[in-house]
């Protein structure tokens, strides 16, 4: 009999919560996803953390999943909503396969479907609390797009969600170029992920990098990045000014 009834503050404009279906706040969340186009396709990176408020509660959550033959979806935000989106996409791909007409949904189409879903939910004030990154290759054409929980969508040569927008994209703007090799792409993503690890409180040091090319999707095994702490400036930062930091 834990009397934790859902209580709103006195000055709230929201109606009674019980008679509306609206996601008010996220519970288990994933942090940044970073992705870029390279020579053969798309590279995407995400850590495996599922945070519960400030607690780093789940450390083996796969936040990137293949969709159909041609696409890869990465998500940040509420994990339960991401799991629901995967179910919607499962159904979409199933129906697509059932046509059995030799055609299959490419990344552009999947991105458009997701955009419509996210925007329509936003209009009903019941968003899916995610920022999505959709990448893929079909018939030699590389595609990389993103959709947010309010339906903002666009495509670009490199995209990121959450903190990644602030920390990773500036790095990518400087160092990305057309026709990156696989090795250079991976190193660039790792550079971004390392910065996020240093500066994002909800980052977890266990990540996966996924690659999608004309041949298909590969998601790497989980691994950890080395971090660098041995700088003389770090060893005794308050030496010249006791009490400072």
């Amino acid at each position: 009999m834990n009397f934790m009834a859902s209580k709103q503050p006195e000055n709230s404009l929201l109606g009674p919560e019980s008679d509306s279906q609206r996601t008010l706040y996220p519970y288990v969340t994933g942090t940044s996803v970073v992705a870029l186009k390279y020579k053969d396709g798309i590279l995407m990176a995400a850590d495996m953390g599922g945070s519960y408020g400030s607690t780093l509660r789940y450390k083996s959550v796969e936040r990137m999943k293949p969709i159909g033959k041609h696409s890869l979806l990465g998500a940040s935000g509420e994990i339960s909503d991401f799991q629901e989106i995967l179910r919607y996409l499962d159904e979409l791909i199933l129906y697509d396969n059932m046509w059995d007409d030799g055609n299959s949904l490419g990344p552009k189409e999947v991105h458009n479907y997701l955009t419509r879903v996210m925007y329509n939910r936003r209009n009903k004030f019941n968003p899916l609390w995610n920022s999505l990154v959709l990448g893929g290759v079909k018939n030699g054409q590389k595609y990389l797009g993103t959709v947010s929980m309010i339906g903002v969508n666009f495509e670009d040569n490199h995209v990121a969600t959450g903190f990644g927008n602030h920390l990773a994209r500036p790095i990518l703007r400087q160092e990305w170029h057309e026709n990156l090799s696989f090795e250079d792409g991976v190193r660039l993503l790792e550079k971004c992920m390392r910065v996020l690890l240093y500066r994002d409180r909800s980052a977890v040091n266990k990540l996966q990098i996924a690659k999608i090319t004309e041949d298909g999707v590969t998601i790497s095994q989980p691994y950890s990045l080395k971090t660098y702490w041995e700088f003389s400036a770090f060893e005794n930062p308050a030496q010249g000014a006791i009490g400072s930091w």
């Binding site: 009999m1 009397f3 934790m4 859902s6 209580k7 519970y27 607690t55 789940y58 994990i79 339960s80």
Partner: protein, 235 residues
């Protein structure tokens, strides 16, 4: 009695619940305290609830919400078993819990740990926290008492434990949580599920190991004063 809570950040709920896999099945554990504000409404509740012969669920959070969800899922699983012609799997049970938790996320406040054994996948543990995320794990902890156990499990958990090692770990963990969490207390209940069946165990509060700053319980001060090793009255 303080009933004001800030509900805009995910918060833990009264209780300690644990689910652990071992090399042959699962062990579920929980404390037995149900509180209404500061009052302990039930000091010997059973938070490990049966869903089918081979699948149980640990309940935390709102007692009403967790009971109604497990009642519905028990009902659905019963029908599913009849239609399927054989026992339901722990994965199906977990997904039914997820469906209810996710689709009613605005109204429900319950975190659940589903544990069971089936012939296809052996012992499995599924955590379904607030919001309705479904996550399969080798072990899971939940409830307000679990905050005190993250570090403990990071250190003490190992893959491939025996049944007895797993149960000892669960009992120790719930007992540690009870020592520090005001919303957890009472007895430690465990349920072990494997191919041979289900075993329920009961560890009364006074039989658990003593932790830091806890003293051996006595019948009376008089016993101490009259004992053969006199405990002097300290000033």
């Amino acid at each position: 009695m303080d009933l004001e809570m800030n509900l805009n950040a995910p918060h833990s709920m009264g209780t300690t619940i644990i689910g652990v896999t071992y090399n042959g099945g699962v062990v579920l554990g929980a404390d037995s305290r149900t509180s209404t504000g500061m009052y302990v409404a039930n000091r010997a509740s059973d938070k490990i609830t049966q869903l089918t012969d081979n699948v149980y669920v640990c309940r935390s959070g709102s007692a009403a919400d967790s009971q109604i969800v497990s009642d519905y899922v028990r009902y659905f699983l019963h029908q599913h078993t009849i239609q399927l012609g054989q026992s339901a799997t722990s994965k199906v049970a977990a997904n039914l819990i997820r469906l209810l938790s996710y689709n009613n996320k605005n109204m429900l406040e319950t975190g659940l740990i589903v544990g069971g054994w089936d012939k296809y996948e052996g012992g499995k543990i599924y955590a379904i926290p607030l919001g309705g995320t479904l996550i399969e794990q080798p072990f899971a902890i939940g409830g307000s008492g679990s905050s005190y156990l993250y570090g403990f499990f990071d250190q003490a958990w190992k893959e491939g434990m025996t049944k007895d090692e797993a149960e000892q770990l669960v009992v120790k963990a719930v007992s540690l949580a009870i020592a520090r969490d005001g919303a957890s207390g009472g007895v430690v209940r465990t349920v072990i599920i494997n191919s041979e069946g289900v075993t329920r165990n009961f560890y009364p509060g006074d039989k658990l190991q003593l932790w830091h700053e806890e003293l051996e319980p006595q019948n009376s001060l008089l016993d101490l004063l009259n004992s053969s090793n006199p405990e002097p009255m300290n000033i």
